[in-house]
Symmetry: none
DNA sequence: CAAATTTTTCAGCACTGTTTCAGCATTCTG
DNA sequence: CAGAATGCTGAAACAGTGCTGAAAAATTTG
C-alpha cells in the first residue's frame, strides 16, 4: 500500500512517515501543493494525507483540482483550522476525512486503516487444479474459458471443492444438496456428477471427479 | 440513495431524517442496536448513520457485527463521547467517519456526501460498454442517441450499473427499489428488466441485462 | 378535468434445469 | 465364471423460472 504525504512542516511529515512505514506502508512525501497535485495524479497512491496550510496551493485547491481531473484516490485532510466551516469546506472540496490537529498518532492510524479498508473487495472463488469456481456467479473458470453452472450443479461441485480432495458419500451429498428429507435418490447425484464431468471436460479442466465404489466421490487433478 | 439512521433519541433522529429527506434521500430509522444490525445486513442502504449510545447493543458492537459478516456499507458514527480513544475505537470497529456531537447540520451533510461520493464515485454519469446513464436527467445515452427513463427504470438500471457486472438477486433489487416492506413481487423486476432491455436495444447499446436462473441479474457487454 | 405517462397486474408461452428411467458397463462376490 | 451390485449415460417427461404483450390502475402533466 502506497501513501503520499503532502505537508510543509517537515518535522511533522517525517514523524508521520516513520509511523506509517513502521506499519508496513510505502510512503512518499512532498512539501507543497503544486507537487502534491502532480504526485497524486500519478494515480499510484492508495491514500493521500493532505495538509490544508501549504505553500503555492492550499489543500482545498489541491483536493478540488485532482477531483476535477477525475482522480478518486482517498484523501485524508489534516489541519490546525478546526472551525466547522473549515471542515465543511474540506469535505466539499473532495476530502474523505477531516482530522483536526493536534491529533493522536493512533487516531491517524485508525483513520488510515478505515479509509484503506474501503479500497479492497475481491471476488471469492474456490480453486482446484487449473480450475476455479466463482461463487457469486456460479461460474466455472479455466484459463479464459468460462461456463455457467445450474443451481444443483453448483451446489454439488462446491461441496466437492470445499472438502478439498476428500471423499464424500452420495448420502452426504444428497442431504447437503437436496435436503434432509427429500425424495431424492442416489441416482440424482450420479446424474449431476455426469453433468459436471461433461462441463469440466468441455472447458479443458484438469480436475476429475473420481468415484470409489460404495464410498462416494472425490476430486483429483489429472497428471499428478 | 437510501440511508439508515440508528439512533435512540427520536427527536434527533427525526430532525436528521427530515434534513436528509429534503436533500432527496430515502431514509429509514430504527432505535436500537439489534434492529440496526438486522436492517444494515439487508444490504440495501448506501449509508448508515449510527449513534454510539444505544439500547440492547451499542454502536461499536453494531459496527463490529456487520463488518464481521462481510457487510461493507459505509458507516458514519455519531456520538457525544468525543475522547480520542472513543474515536479510535469507533474507526477500528469498522466505522468510516466519526462525527462528535454536537454537530452542525451542514457538517453532517458534508460528511454524508463525502461518504456517498466514494460509493458511486464522484460521478454524474455511470458508464458501461458503449452506454452511459446520466444521473441528473435519468437519461440513457449511446453515441448521439438519447432516451429518457422512468423513475423505476432508472433505479433498477442504476443499481445494476453500480454493482458493475456483479450479480444482483431479484430480492435485493426489490428491496432497494420498491422498499423494505412493499407489496411488490418479483415479476415487477422482470417487467422492468424487460422495459430496460427494449430501451437499451432501441438506442443501439451493446449492454445486455443477463439473467441467471435462481440467482438474479447482471450486466454484460456484447461481443466480449 | 383530460391526456399522457408510468406502474402494476396477469395469463400464457418458451426455455432451462431437474427428475425419472431403462439399458449398458464395470466391478465385486461367491 | 455367473450373477449381483454399483455406477454411468442418453433420452424423455416434468416442473419451475423467466419473458412478453396487453390491459387495467395509478400517477403526473398540461
Amino acid at each position: 500500500m502506497r501513501i503520499l504525504i503532502v505537508e510543509d512542516d517537515t518535522m511533522l511529515s517525517q514523524t508521520i512517515q516513520a509511523v506509517l512505514e513502521k506499519e508496513g506502508f510505502s510512503v512518499d512525501a512532498v512539501t507543497d501543493g503544486a507537487s502534491g497535485v502532480d504526485y497524486i495524479l500519478l494515480n499510484v497512491y492508495d491514500l493521500v494525507i493532505l495538509d490544508v496550510m501549504l505553500p503555492v496551493q492550499d489543500g482545498y485547491q489541491v483536493a478540488r483540482t485532482v477531483r476535477a481531473k477525475g482522480c478518486g484516490t482517498p484523501i485524508l485532510m489534516l489541519t490546525a483550522r478546526s472551525a466547522v466551516d473549515d471542515r465543511i469546506d474540506g469535505l466539499n472540496a473532495g476530502a474523505d476525512y477531516y482530522l483536526p490537529k493536534p491529533f493522536d498518532v493512533r487516531e491517524l492510524l485508525a483513520c488510515v486503516h478505515a479509509l484503506l479498508r474501503r479500497q479492497g473487495g475481491q471476488v471469492d472463488t474456490l480453486v482446484y487444479g487449473n480450475t476455479a469456481l466463482e461463487l457469486a456467479s456460479s461460474t466455472l473458470i479455466c484459463g479464459d474459458r468460462r461456463m455457467r453452472l445450474s443451481a444443483k450443479e453448483f451446489d454439488v461441485l462446491r461441496l466437492l471443492l470445499q472438502s478439498g480432495g476428500n471423499n464424500l458419500s452420495k448420502e452426504h451429498i444428497l442431504t447437503c444438496v437436496w435436503g434432509y428429507d427429500s425424495e431424492a435418490v442416489e441416482n440424482h447425484v450420479e446424474v449431476y456428477v455426469g453433468f459436471l464431468r461433461k462441463k469440466l471436460r468441455s472447458i479443458g479442466s484438469n480436475v476429475r471427479i473420481e468415484a470409489i465404489r460404495r464410498l462416494g466421490y472425490h476430486l483429483e487433478v489429472d497428471g499428478a
